[in-house]
Point group: none
Chain length 210, copies 4
DNA sequence: AGATAACCGAGACGGTACGTCTCGTCTTTAG
DNA sequence: CTAAAGACGAGACGTACCGTCTCGGTTATCT
């Protein structure tokens, strides 16, 4: 026993086959556990804020073993990141097409700002920011998330012939506003701000068209 | 903070009594302890970042009892805040005057961005933001600090006849970029970014001059 | 242990029914897996002691699925017990016959004590004892094992006309010494001790012959 | 500040003094916590046996922080050891003097066996043995304890002119029975067993009197 | 030959306990 | 009455195993 391992390669001898060792062994990942963890994380952030977000609390709330979280996510940060990425992808149109740069920017920024202001989303962003400022693993997660969001906006701008370097700066300014207001909370993010910002960006972009 | 002492010694000078009965009882606050705590905090932030900033670590580094910290500051945040107050005043120029809007913006943003990027300042900003996202009272403090900074830039823009509403938005975009990069750390703040941003703002402003 | 299979066919004999339902279907037990588990257990006990003996470690060492162990043994206890039973049967002469009580006792105890002191056996005994003190299922296993050993010595004594009650006590004293030294480790078990003990028992026995 | 540390040795320079560094600073050990831990340990052993004895359970039962246990005891074993040492003083019979060897042995063994069988003592012995089989440092403690017990019985035997070597063996047989039954739990230790064992030892001893 | 059934290895699952770390508070002694 | 030292209850951390529950795949026996 114990010797006829890695089955499925008995035919190796016959040919120069690829030696596919075995597609999978063991129980599969439980999708219910995954979504229970994400739901519990969202609930804790909504109700108790960043301070209440511990692995213990998530596991307790999701009725999941702690090890199950550690098995699939390298850190608390990764869980929040996955939560944020899913929501952003669903809520913001990646490629609006209104015919004009200004129109596309308004559509994109309206969706982005209004989503960021949603009471179920804002705490997630706040937590990402707060933890990223303290813990490296969160910083990495946030870096990935924000890079991904900027890439979408940059693509939009480049479709309208804005040079890459300028597009990157404009994207940083647009998203910078989201995070600035998220941190300070001195004013609400909404349609009016989105439109005004879109106009600023469109103006700055038009001067640099290729 | 930490400056409104237990009082009770104002009458020392006035008492012309012979047998100065007792000018004070008990040991006075040790100023060396206070600055040792602040120095240790700065050092830890510089060397290990916000993650390594625990009360235990500060006490150890400052060679001070933990209780001494709790006695004078209500939280870690308060220590960092005091540190920030001492440093911030020195660093940022109020009102450059080069003659042109673009020139003034470049001067102001260069100073602002380069200060924010300084290795002894950046970790302080990071900690301030992090704490503001967790605790309302620090959010208020940060709100006041950022409002004050925006007011300076707004005044600069209004000197060049930019309407107030637009000036406020442009100020948010300029400072938003600082915080965006501070949070994500995906790129360095510096002179190049300052100039490019100044150009974007100047362009957007010129369209709306009164 | 591990030998009383799932049963459920005891009624076959009684039922004079035509369709004897089915004695067995499916793959048979893999003997190689069984001995791999026992070998791995012995190796772990030898090399890492009782502390390192976990089901995970056995499975890893034996290159066997954990479920395979749980399928055939109800607990760690059962595995070690099976190992002990196999070794003990081989090592200890059941019924020496030298003609005299003292001679038989000396032969029996020499074999018993020297076996218990063997470096591949002692850790097993230590584990049996240690686990029996912590877990009830282990205690049951040890109780069966020690009862069986006492029965052999009791039979020897009764062959020499020692009354059963006294034989039982003498057996307990003889084996008690093994465990006492195994626990405390204050002295080695060997031939000298065996002979001295045999003399004590023989003396005590001769006073009570039937 | 913070530099005049380890006070109390300012006078070192003046002489070759012993350099007593400082007697003590800080909060003292809480005696209530210590006894709460020992009481909780005793209770858990009584009610749930060695298996239920975890650091978590002790801390919970004693309403004490886990760290408090780790601060004062290096292991579970050490807690049980301290508990045993406290109880041992009360339970140990000293030196009976009935005039005859058999009488003295009966008195000594009755007390010993009955004490070992007490429901509040037996679990302690079981745990002591179990830990000794796993951890060397604890094995040393148990070795000392058992050696001391044997010394008492040996002294009793030698008072009756039993040669030292034989006395040592008889003591091991007598105490071996205690541990044998403690481990296996196959029969109760009590007066009957004590008397029968006393008779066996007395018989074996009388053959070797000096 | 095909169906059925038990075995096998791998490994995910909900849990419990581990020993460590830090928190904010409390207590003691020195100055 | 403050400072330092340090014990205290609390609770989160990440790891190791527990015993159970799937998985895909491999023998064996029965029809």
């Amino acid at each position: 026993m114990a010797d006829q391992r890695k089955a499925g390669r008995a035919d190796d001898a016959g040919g120069a086959r690829k030696a596919v060792p075995r597609p999978h062994t063991g129980r599969r990942r439980n999708e219910a556990a995954r979504s229970a963890v994400l739901d519990a994380t969202a609930k804790l952030l909504r109700e108790r804020g960043p301070e209440g977000l511990t692995i213990d609390a998530i596991a307790r709330e999701a009725r999941v073993g702690r090890q199950t979280i550690y098995r699939w996510w390298p850190s608390r940060a990764a869980v929040v990141n996955e939560l944020a990425s899913e929501n952003a992808r669903l809520a913001v149109p990646s490629e609006p097409d209104t015919g004009s740069l200004q129109g596309d920017l308004r559509a994109f920024l309206r969706a982005s700002y209004e989503t960021a202001a949603r009471p179920d989303i804002a705490p997630i962003l706040r937590t990402l920011a707060s933890e990223a400022l303290r813990h490296d693993d969160f910083a990495v997660a946030l870096r990935e998330f924000t890079a991904q969001r900027r890439a979408v906006l940059r693509a939009l701008l480049e479709r309208h012939r804005v040079p890459p370097v300028r597009a990157e700066l404009l994207a940083e300014l647009a998203f910078g506003l989201i995070w600035y207001r998220t941190i300070t909370g001195h004013a609400k993010l909404g349609r009016t701000t989105a439109d005004a910002t879109a106009d600023v960006l469109a103006t700055a972009a038009s001067r640099t068209r290729r």
